[in-house]
Symmetry: C2
Subunit: 316 residues, 2 copies
């Protein structure tokens, strides 16, 4: 499907030409997809239904942005991407768990996710809650049992992952979202999303640095700035797509933010205003990445650039 202005969240350069569809590092996506597909949780026959629900949600496809980001970060610091596969997969398990719980009737009450019935629609609410709980636990099992790294670095990465997804991270953001306690104005909105989606996206970059023992403060700072800006960009585009996308391209109901009365970048700034914000966020992310790349010596940040451009221009 050709991109139209309506589906292109970031304004095109110059005189109204649509931006080209950004390339995506599909080779990394294939690597993570294959790794996830072979994961088994070694359950007993009595709990086979639990594993089925966990794998149903885990293997529903998607762009795998977070784990691909982790693999691309490894490449950018001169490491073999596959060396961080268990970490990358653990992050996708956690992301999947968060989607399952977000979709529950008591939360966003969504029936569709990635074009298929949500976990609780397919397996029941009780099983969906447990599938989410199980995926979160198994993320730590995977990281702590399969990821090769010196013990102190592995501990640091696991701690960052727990922090990014706990009461000062993802779960806090989700709470602020459902409880409607975000402070008024753009700062409140930015803070909500920095927690709800930004922290895990940033952790996909930062945990790789921790695992690989990168310790230069400037380098860490550049990568962190990049990662956090990428989280913001992702959310602005997500809010735009919730209004401009179709159920087919979104894989879920369009307009669910409006239905839930949520404050979004679109409700705060309008679609055009949000597009301008996205363009500025995109520019900041690219600038931070250039700075990080400078510190990365001769290693390639090409894949991180692709992911950044893809997030800015995605229309799925």
């Amino acid at each position: 499907m050709p991109l139209t202005r309506e589906q292109d969240p970031v304004p095109p350069d110059g005189a109204g030409r649509p931006a080209p569809r950004a390339a995506y590092p599909d080779h990394l996506r294939t690597v993570i997809e294959d790794y996830l597909a072979q994961l088994r949780f070694e359950v007993d026959p009595e709990s086979a239904g639990l594993e089925e629900a966990m794998r149903y949600s885990l293997l529903a496809g998607g762009k795998r942005i977070r784990p691909v980001l982790a693999l691309a970060t490894a490449a950018a610091i001169g490491r073999e991407p596959t060396s961080v596969l268990p970490l990358a997969a653990a992050i996708e398990l956690i992301h999947t768990y968060s989607l399952i719980h977000d979709d529950l009737p008591a939360m966003d009450d969504d029936d569709l996710r990635r074009g298929r019935p949500t976990c609780h629609k397919a397996f029941g609410e009780d099983v969906a809650i447990l599938a989410g709980d199980g995926l979160y636990a198994e993320a730590f099992v995977l990281l702590l049992s399969r990821q090769q790294a010196p013990a102190n670095r592995l501990l640091a990465a696991a701690l960052e992952l727990a922090r990014a997804t706990g009461a000062q991270g993802m779960v806090a953001g989700q709470y602020i979202d459902v409880a409607g306690t975000a402070q008024a104005g753009p700062d409140g909105l930015r803070r909500l999303h920095a927690l709800k989606t930004g922290r895990l996206i940033a952790a996909s970059v930062e945990c790789v640095l921790l695992l690989e023992g990168i310790s230069e403060p400037e380098r860490i700072h550049s990568f962190s700035s990049f990662a956090r800006e990428l989280g913001v960009l992702f959310q602005i585009v997500d809010d735009i797509l919730d209004v401009t996308g179709s159920p087919e391209t979104l894989g879920k109901q369009q307009g669910s933010d409006e239905r839930l009365g949520k404050r979004t970048y679109v409700t705060e700034f309008g679609v055009e205003g949000a597009r301008e914000l996205a363009a500025r966020s995109h520019a900041r992310a690219r600038a931070a990445l250039s700075q990080a790349a400078g510190g990365a010596g001769s290693h390639s940040t090409a894949e991180l650039e692709q992911i950044t451009d893809f997030i800015a221009n995605r229309s799925f």
Copy 2:
């Protein structure tokens, strides 16, 4: 309230005299209670309500059997109990999370817990789901950031905790319980409970050994046998109390197993049969503990003995 035969799950010795109420290591309980009370999750003002829900459930009292077991295990191997406080508290955070999710309308649908409204009754279902999610994440934050230990031992303990609570542990047991997929007969029931409650109770002992670097296979085996039998004993007594207890002593509705049509040790063996099983399980746990104590040199297993007797005779 004096013990009556009706509230005493384990048959008395000899000629019908009620068993004396077992002592409980309250000094250890006070230590863990104080530690839990000072825990803050350092949230922002916008998510203060999340922390409130987490602490509401965490500080609802109870005997703190799992963390007290961890502290008593440290004493039994000649270590200072307070040296494993972060681990012990992390285990109680996880136990609390599991109770919050178990109580949800989609699961056991309980309104009362420890004599107070359950988390979802007090804060709403969405907040309760997130409070549980947050407590699980913060358990790992606590363990990985505050527990002093060589990195490789800390990793081993964290991994065991994740395994004990994941798709091969607690969550699997809960799945088997709600899905009703336990195999027929006592073995199926034993397996269900070994997963649902036994693994975390056992982990309360085993993680301390891992953290302290205990490596003699025989010693580990004795402690593990003790810990796993303790989990079985706990569950048999729990099932008896669900039938014979009152809401006042239980802190929750009596008869909830029957209401949910659950298979329990009482539905399988009757109250008297279950009491006999409890007595046998109690004897096995004490025997395994004696063996573990032999390996522990001159250190005291007095507190572990107290906990074992207390679990056998509890009537709260």
